[in-house]
C-alpha cells in the first residue's frame, strides 16, 4: 500500500478545514461512586491530554461531553453552540452534538465493511449512498488504508481497525474530537506508527480535541496541554513542561518520575506532615510542593559529613533497572526514589532490606506553591 505522506494529508486537510470554535465545559456528573466535577476550556485546534488513575472519571467526562451521560449540573458550549445548560433545561442529544468519538477498542460495527463504517456518520446525516461511499474511501486513503474499503472489521489488524475508527470519527467533520485511549489496545509497534500519524491528523483537525491516555509519553507526543484528573477533580491543568517539572499530585509525580513532598515552608525549612524537615536554597512561606529529581538523591552506607544538606536514614525497599541506571526505592520516615548507576549499586552493595543514608542538596529541592 502506498500512503500519502503525513505532510501531504496535513496540508490537504488544513486547506479544507473551516474555522472552528472551542469548547467550554463545566461538567458535574454523579455515576455510581464517582462524583465528577470538572471545568475545562479547550481552544479550537488545541489537543488536550487527559491523564489520571483508573476510575478518576476521564471516560465519564468524555461520555458527558458526547451527551452519552446526563449532567447533574453544568454547562457545555461548543463552537458557539450551547449543548448543555442544566440551569435552563438545555440538553442536546448525542446525535445532534457533532462530537466525533474514538473508543479504546475501536468498536467498528462488525456487520459493516470498513467503508460502510466510515460512511455511517455521513449517511446518518442524510448524504446519499454514492457520495458517502466516495468520501469514506477517500478518508480510508487518508488514514493509509486505500485498499481496505471492502474489508470487514474482523479481517483488519488492531492498528488498521483503529485507523478506520479514526476515519469514521473524522469523516462527518465533527466540531470536536474525543478519544478514549485510542492506542492502548494496540501492540507496541503499531502504537508507535499510529501515534505519529495520529499527531498529524490531530494537527490538521482544527477543532478542540481531548485524548485520554495512561501513557505520559503518548500524552507528550500528541498533546500540547495536560489535564490531570483524580477522583473526579482536575488536580492540574498546564503545559507539558509545567506538569512534568512541577507536578501537583503524588500520582502524576510518580508517573513523571519525580519525588514529591507537600509541606509548610518557613524561611529555608519545609515542615512535612511526617514532622520531618527539608532544607531548601529558596526562601518561601506557606504551603508548598517540593519536588526532587531522583538523580539528585545521593545514597551512602555511612552518615555523610559536610555542608548543610538534607540527610536521613532509610531501608532499601526495592530496585528497578531502567536502562543503564537503577532506581532505588528507599523506605523510611521520608520515602524517596534515588536514581544511581549500576556501578554505584555494586560499589555500595545495595540490596533490598539494606540500611542506607539518603542525602539531597538544598539547591536540588525544587519549590513551588501548593
Amino acid at each position: 500500500m502506498t500512503a500519502p505522506t503525513p505532510d501531504a494529508w496535513l496540508s490537504a486537510a488544513a486547506r479544507q478545514q473551516p474555522a472552528r470554535g472551542g469548547l467550554s465545559a463545566q461538567v458535574a456528573v454523579t455515576l455510581g461512586t464517582l462524583d465528577l466535577d470538572v471545568s475545562l476550556d479547550v481552544a479550537a485546534g488545541e489537543v488536550v491530554a487527559l491523564l489520571g488513575p483508573n476510575g478518576a472519571g476521564k471516560t465519564t467526562l468524555l461520555r458527558a461531553l458526547a451527551g452519552l451521560v446526563g449532567l447533574r449540573s453544568g454547562r457545555v458550549e461548543l463552537d458557539g453552540r450551547v449543548l448543555d445548560d442544566t440551569a435552563h433545561g438545555v440538553c442536546v442529544s448525542p446525535e445532534l452534538r457533532g462530537a466525533g468519538m474514538v473508543f479504546q477498542d475501536h468498536l467498528l460495527f462488525p456487520h459493516l465493511t470498513a467503508a460502510d463504517n466510515v460512511a455511517f456518520g455521513l449517511r446518518a446525516r442524510g448524504m446519499a449512498a454514492g457520495p458517502a461511499r466516495e468520501a469514506a474511501v477517500d478518508w480510508l486513503a487518508r488514514v493509509g488504508l486505500p485498499d481496505a474499503a471492502r474489508a470487514k472489521p474482523r479481517a483488519l489488524s488492531g492498528g488498521q481497525a483503529q485507523r478506520v475508527a479514526l476515519a469514521r470519527a473524522l469523516a462527518f467533520e465533527p466540531s470536536m474530537l474525543l478519544m478514549d485511549e485510542p492506542l492502548s489496545a494496540l501492540d507496541v509497534e503499531a502504537r508507535l506508527a499510529i501515534r505519529r500519524e495520529l499527531r498529524a491528523h490531530l494537527e490538521a483537525f482544527g477543532g478542540p480535541c481531548l485524548v485520554i491516555t495512561h501513557d505520559p509519553v503518548e500524552a507528550i507526543a500528541l498533546a500540547t496541554r495536560l489535564v490531570i484528573v483524580e477522583a473526579g477533580r482536575v488536580v492540574q491543568d498546564g503545559s507539558i513542561e509545567d506538569v512534568t517539572q512541577r507536578p501537583r499530585s503524588t500520582w502524576i509525580a510518580e508517573l513523571v518520575g519525580l519525588n514529591l513532598y507537600r509541606g509548610e515552608a518557613r524561611g529555608h525549612a519545609i515542615r512535612l506532615p511526617s514532622n520531618q524537615e527539608l532544607v531548601t536554597a529558596t526562601l518561601a512561606n506557606g504551603k508548598v510542593f517540593a519536588a526532587v529529581h531522583p538523580r539528585a538523591v545521593a545514597l551512602y552506607r555511612g552518615r555523610p559529613e559536610g555542608t548543610p544538606r538534607n540527610v536521613w536514614a532509610g531501608t532499601i525497599g526495592g530496585l528497578d533497572v531502567q536502562g543503564d541506571r537503577i532506581r532505588v526505592h528507599v523506605d523510611g520516615p521520608l520515602p524517596v526514589v534515588a536514581e544511581v548507576t549500576a556501578a554505584a549499586v555494586a560499589a555500595l552493595d545495595l540490596g533490598v532490606g539494606g540500611d542506607v543514608y539518603v542525602s539531597v542538596k538544598a539547591a536540588e529541592v525544587n519549590l513551588y506553591p501548593a
Binding site: 452519552l68 466525533g100 446518518a124
Partner: protein, 252 residues
C-alpha cells in the same frame, strides 16, 4: 445415576420411535391429498406465520423496552408479559375469551364499533397463537439485547444516528442470531399451539382447525391420518432444532 439418565433418554426417545414405526408409509400419498389434512396443514402454516409476524413486529419493541428502558413496576410488568410461557394454554384461552369474546372487556366495544368478532375465527387462532408464542421471542431477544455491547449504540449516536436509525442499522443486525433463535422458538410454539386455540377459537375445519387440533380429532376417526399429521409436526420440530443447533445441539 447413569441408569436414571438412560431411563430418561428412553422416556423421550421411545415415543418418537413408536411414531416412526407406526407410520403408514404406503398411505402417505393419498393422506397427503386428503382434504381435511390439507386444510389443517394450510391453516396451520397461515396462522403460525401470521402469529410469528405479529410476535416479531410487537415482541422486538417489547424486548427493547424491557432491556433498555426503565419504567415503574418494570419487574412486575415483565413477569406478566412472559407469564403465558408457564400458564396452562387452556387458561390462556379462557382469559382470551373473557377479554376478546363477544361480551368481553375489549370484544364487546370492538364488536359494537367495528363489527369485528375474534372468537371462533381464523384471526382468533392467530391471536391465541400470538398470545402463547410471543413471550418465547421476547425473552430470547431481550437476553440478546442485554448481552450486546451497548457502546455500539453509543457510537451510532455520536455519529449522528437517531434512535430509530441506530436500532435498524446497528442493534438489529447485531441482534441477528438472538432474533433468529427467538423467531424459530416462537414459530414452533405457535405451530404446536392447542389449548388456547381450541378454547378461544374452537375446532372448525378449514377455519380454526389447525394441525394439532386435527391430530386430536383424527385420532378418533382415522389413526393413520393422525399419525401422518404428527409426523409432519415432528419433521417441522426437527428442522427448527437444527436451525437452532448453535443453542441446543452443541454439547460444548
Amino acid at each position: 445415576m447413569a441408569w436414571l439418565g438412560v431411563l430418561a433418554m428412553a422416556l423421550v426417545i421411545l415415543p418418537l420411535v413408536g411414531l416412526l414405526v407406526s407410520t403408514p408409509w404406503r398411505r402417505l400419498g393419498d393422506l397427503l391429498s386428503d382434504q381435511t389434512v390439507l386444510a389443517a396443514l394450510r391453516l396451520s402454516l397461515l396462522t403460525s406465520l401470521a402469529a410469528l409476524t405479529a410476535s416479531t413486529v410487537l415482541g422486538v419493541p417489547l424486548a427493547w423496552l424491557l432491556a433498555r428502558r426503565d419504567f415503574p413496576a418494570k419487574t412486575f410488568l415483565r413477569a406478566l408479559c412472559v407469564l403465558p410461557m408457564v400458564l396452562p394454554p387452556v387458561v390462556g384461552g379462557v382469559a382470551l375469551l373473557l377479554a376478546f369474546g363477544r361480551r368481553g372487556l375489549i370484544g364487546q366495544p370492538l364488536d359494537q364499533l367495528t363489527g369485528i368478532t375474534l372468537p371462533f375465527t381464523t384471526s382468533g387462532v392467530v391471536l391465541a397463537e400470538t398470545f402463547v408464542a410471543m413471550p418465547f421471542l421476547v425473552v430470547t431477544v431481550e437476553a440478546g439485547l442485554r448481552s450486546m455491547d451497548r457502546r455500539y449504540e453509543d457510537v451510532a449516536a455520536t455519529l449522528g444516528a437517531s434512535r430509530w436509525l441506530s436500532f435498524r442499522r446497528v442493534t438489529l443486525p447485531l441482534l441477528g442470531p438472538s432474533l433468529g433463535a427467538g423467531m424459530a422458538l416462537c414459530w414452533a410454539r405457535a405451530l404446536g399451539e392447542f389449548g388456547a386455540t381450541i378454547t378461544f377459537a374452537g375446532n372448525l375445519s378449514g377455519r380454526t382447525q389447525t394441525m394439532p387440533l386435527a391430530v386430536y380429532l383424527q385420532l378418533e376417526r382415522d389413526v393413520d391420518a393422525a399419525i401422518l399429521l404428527s409426523l409432519v409436526l415432528l419433521a417441522v420440530s426437527v428442522v427448527v432444532l437444527v436451525a437452532l443447533r448453535g443453542r441446543y445441539l452443541d454439547s460444548g
